[in-house]
Symmetry: C2
Subunit: 238 residues, 2 copies
């Protein structure tokens, strides 16, 4: 495998985690010394209740001058999740942080989401001749999703090594980068501050009310916990 | 795992292989006794040179009354393939059938295509509560694509078992079904005839001229070889 850095595709939802990942990738590929690093962001329109994340993502990438693909999904996708279906209520005030051995999966789980999103990113990366894909999964302060766990990422990587031209021919295999995998939310915020992530412009809430975080969904609870542990006010609430 | 059959998503390109797969799935889920088996077909619009395949796919599914999703992909996807880029010529008259140990990959390879297509199918299947995904990959009479090989499919299945709710909770894990994996083209045509696949309406050519097969690309060569070995005329040429 070549060690030359060729470029990265970053899965961006405009939240704290994925935006921090974007800034990790920027740093890895030479930013700010390199003004236009070979970074491509991708986001998805799947009629999610928190579709405001697309506006936030665009704000973040347009300010950086980073190319950004927004892929629309057919309405047949992602049924059965409270993030997409009006009749299902997003879980609120769960009041606990599930550990990575739990098999309790909340109704905010989206069927096959990270599998599909990673596959878009891998395809984009290979088509553009890039050598890595960044995803902001986190297996510590998370909500019990199977597609955020280290064992899933390892299996996904093994599959990519066998199923892509670059994986098979040995020129380079696209690497899945998960810089936040074992960090707590507090640590992620600390890292975001170091990287000068525009936290003010990030949005994590699953179920916003007129664009404002609900403060009660799992994503809000985890984000709020991180800021509270640092004794900080969340700049996005200002 | 439950053994109850719940339904299948079929990746359909309107070619010989994927249409035969569709009919395998139909039979598995009780057709023609069951008039509306729980089968959902999915095809993709990626500005492919052989976009006529979408018309053929729709003809096949509408006649059966099978629901059919056509997902459009952003133009940033699938760069670098002769199936999508005008400046690249589809390989013609290759005159050899590569074996599954070859690392020569023709320029008709599409970056991450089966990874992405399978991921769409898995996500759809899980969202619809279905238990299998059919893909018409073939590792015998094929063109050297890494994402058609048994080892890739096995790795993909292992990843699905770890990355989906249904894989992790043990209710049922979605199974990737590859009924054509080890069959020759001749055998696939024989099976298609048994299943009463409308071969006349299938289209396999990568580079059609005014909707007609070129007769020279790898896909045409393989298809023609199969019919020749059976001493048959390809009904789609009539």
């Amino acid at each position: 495998m070549s060690t030359k850095s060729k470029g990265a595709v970053v899965l961006l939802s405009g939240g704290l985690d994925s935006t921090t990942c974007l800034y990790e990738a920027l740093q890895e590929y030479g930013y700010p010394k390199v003004k236009k690093p070979p970074i491509l962001a991708i986001s998805f329109n799947y009629s999610q209740k928190h579709i405001i994340e697309l506006k936030k993502s665009k704000l973040i990438t347009s300010r950086l001058g980073i190319p950004h693909v927004v892929q629309k999904l057919d309405p047949e996708f992602f049924l059965g999740s409270s993030l997409t279906e009006k009749k299902l209520k997003v879980r609120k005030n769960a009041g606990k942080i599930l550990d990575s051995n739990s098999t309790e999966i909340p109704n905010t789980y989206v069927p096959g989401r990270n599998i599909l999103f990673l596959s878009f990113a891998i395809s984009l990366a290979e088509g553009h001749g890039y050598d890595s894909v960044y995803i902001g999964v986190n297996a510590l302060d998370y909500s019990g999703y199977p597609d955020c766990r280290p064992e899933f990422i390892r299996a996904y990587q093994a599959m990519v090594n066998l199923g892509t031209k670059t994986g098979v021919t040995g020129d380079h295999s696209i690497q899945i980068k998960t810089p936040l995998l074992t960090m707590s939310k507090k640590e992620i915020i600390q890292r975001a501050l170091e990287l000068q992530v525009p936290l003010k412009d990030t949005h994590s809430c699953y179920d916003p009310v007129r664009g404002k975080p609900c403060g009660k969904c799992d994503s809000c609870l985890l984000r709020n916990k991180g800021f509270a542990e640092l004794g900080m006010t969340d700049p996005s609430l200002g």
